[in-house]
């Protein structure tokens, strides 16, 4: 069965420090992987996706994520966190082939960036 795990409910980081939000997945075959961010009282916003090609994907607001096939991970990273990055981050996956095209979502990780 397809699944996504975000092992940390909350990540705290000081402004200016690097941040990592972890995601691991389980899917049949090759995955499509996504990160979305949800700011308070807003809908989810697309950050970045991995479809194929370079394992390091760059996205919006200076975020990037690295696809690691052997570890089935797709961790979200940013070299220098901003207070405005504080939000809820969701990882999602779906399989590339086959009829099951719906996204499977993680539970989300709350990122708090402290000034």
């Amino acid at each position: 069965a397809q699944s996504v795990a975000q092992p940390e409910d909350q990540v705290n980081v000081a402004e200016g420090n690097p941040l990592t939000v972890k995601c691991t997945y389980s899917v049949s075959g090759n995955p499509y992987l996504f990160w979305y961010v949800q700011y308070p009282n807003r809908g989810l916003q697309f950050l970045l996706k991995y479809i194929t090609g370079d394992n390091l994907v760059k996205g919006s607001y200076g975020f990037e994520a690295e696809f690691n096939k052997s570890q089935t991970s797709f961790h979200l990273k940013k070299p220098s966190a901003l207070v405005s990055d504080s939000a809820l981050y969701f990882c999602a996956v779906r399989q590339q082939a086959g009829n099951n095209r719906k996204l499977i979502w993680g539970l989300g990780t709350s990122l708090a960036v402290n000034p």
């Binding site: 809908g43 989810l44 916003q45 697309f46 989300g108």
Partner: protein, 114 residues
């Protein structure tokens, strides 16, 4: 940037009542979705809609649920007889084309069933 808009932002209803949640997707998008998120739980896929028909639905999307695109701009989710467990945040999303793989979400409708 264009936005997906949802109305109302909050809806309170009595158990057994019908509710209609409304969404206006981005105008040149072709694929439409409803998701929901029960407090503290995962974002769950409900249904996808393309070319005026449902293309995929989850096991949650039973006979009590229906979707419509009545006028080429609105995309509605109807729950015929609400249950307490339907209380959740409901998100509408749209995508320009399937190869794009980028979903645009609305701000959600918080449905409370009493």
């Amino acid at each position: 940037e264009p936005e997906v808009t949802q109305t109302p932002s909050h809806q309170v209803t009595q158990m057994g009542q019908e509710v209609i949640l409304r969404c206006v997707p981005i105008s040149n998008h072709l694929y439409f979705y409803w998701y929901r998120q029960i407090l503290g739980q995962k974002v769950e896929f409900l249904v996808s809609f393309y070319n005026n028909e449902i293309s995929e639905k989850s096991e949650i999307f039973d006979d009590q649920f229906s979707v419509e695109r009545p006028d080429g701009s609105n995309f509605t989710l109807k729950i015929r007889s609400t249950k307490l467990e339907d209380s959740a945040m409901y998100f509408c999303a749209s995508m320009q084309r399937e190869t794009n793989e980028k979903l645009f979400f609305g701000s959600g409708t918080q449905l409370s069933v009493l």
